[in-house]
Symmetry: C2
Amino acid sequence: MSHTKRSELRRLPKRGSHDPQSIHAILDAGFVAHVGFQTGGQPFVIPTLYGRDGDKLYLHGSSASRMVTELEKSISVCITVTLVDGLVLARSAFHHSMNYRSVVAFGIAQKVKDGERKLRALRTISEHLLPGRWPDVRAPNEKELKATTILEFVIEEASAKIRTGPPLDEEADYGLPVWAGVLPLTLRAKLPVPDLRLAEEVELPGYVLRFRKD
Amino acid sequence: MSHTKRSELRRLPKRGSHDPQSIHAILDAGFVAHVGFQTGGQPFVIPTLYGRDGDKLYLHGSSASRMVTELEKSISVCITVTLVDGLVLARSAFHHSMNYRSVVAFGIAQKVKDGERKLRALRTISEHLLPGRWPDVRAPNEKELKATTILEFVIEEASAKIRTGPPLDEEADYGLPVWAGVLPLTLRAKLPVPDLRLAEEVELPGYVLRFRKD
């Protein structure tokens, strides 16, 4: 990964990093990316699932989708992953903040054409989201593989931003009778809802029960 | 809100809607937006908090931030809000999906200059995130207001997309011995963490305890 002006941390650089390890850790903790690209003078931001392999992100989509048809033209793309960790409640309105981790990555996507590589990328996306699922399910057939476009996005450069910890108030405000602190937030799984047509004697897999992304 | 090609639902239009009520409901249920814009041939996607007032979204940021300096040039912007509701586990890899609600909105942002309107917008953002908080905290002073840029984004057009319900498998796959169903996901608050320098006898406000965004 390189580092030019576009990934420069202009605001609060102390919260930021270009360290690949921090970037990978955030990408691995998330599973929804917001993909930004421009076409016809109009920017678009599309949410999508992804998987990571080194400095590559894999996206998939229907060959008919706008995101896929635009990205496969090798245009400039920005992919952002954001994890919300908590509300930071200060004594003053001004110092309210958010605890979060985010990555903003820049690069270009290319269509994966080879069938074997497409399959591998789909497995990467699936195992990124829910490790253990892929070997359990019916693999894509020829027709399904054809209907799916896989995009390989190589991260040319990226930056991570992390805020943690308590509010930072003005010294004069600490005495105010205002509750201050952090309200931690996290994405949690609720009880799995089995499909009504589940085949008999199929048990809930452990990897579903243990699902956790944070 | 109008409706042109840019907000056309190209993929799975049955999941989509241009109905303002559905769009507002999703915007009200979320609180992190991903803001997309292009500058120097490079798209950027930046996560940020927001508040809604009718068909307007308010964003705020430091006057030094890239998002603010670019958006106040009245360029085309795309703002996307995504809520993740669950993993949809099908019997085949191909039919795996996600339950979610998302809004993709297009428009242009303008800087709010008037002090009163800035304050009102900040309150809108604050009350959007945590209703009840604003009256409790020290209001922004002159200097803080100056350091904050408020952007008013008028939604020119938008589309909502919603997926709910169980997986939809190929008829031939229903008999497979594969667990299928939905793993519902939701953003949950954990126990609030009071600031170490909290003034004595300040109680945890009910609106913090009751925080819920979904």
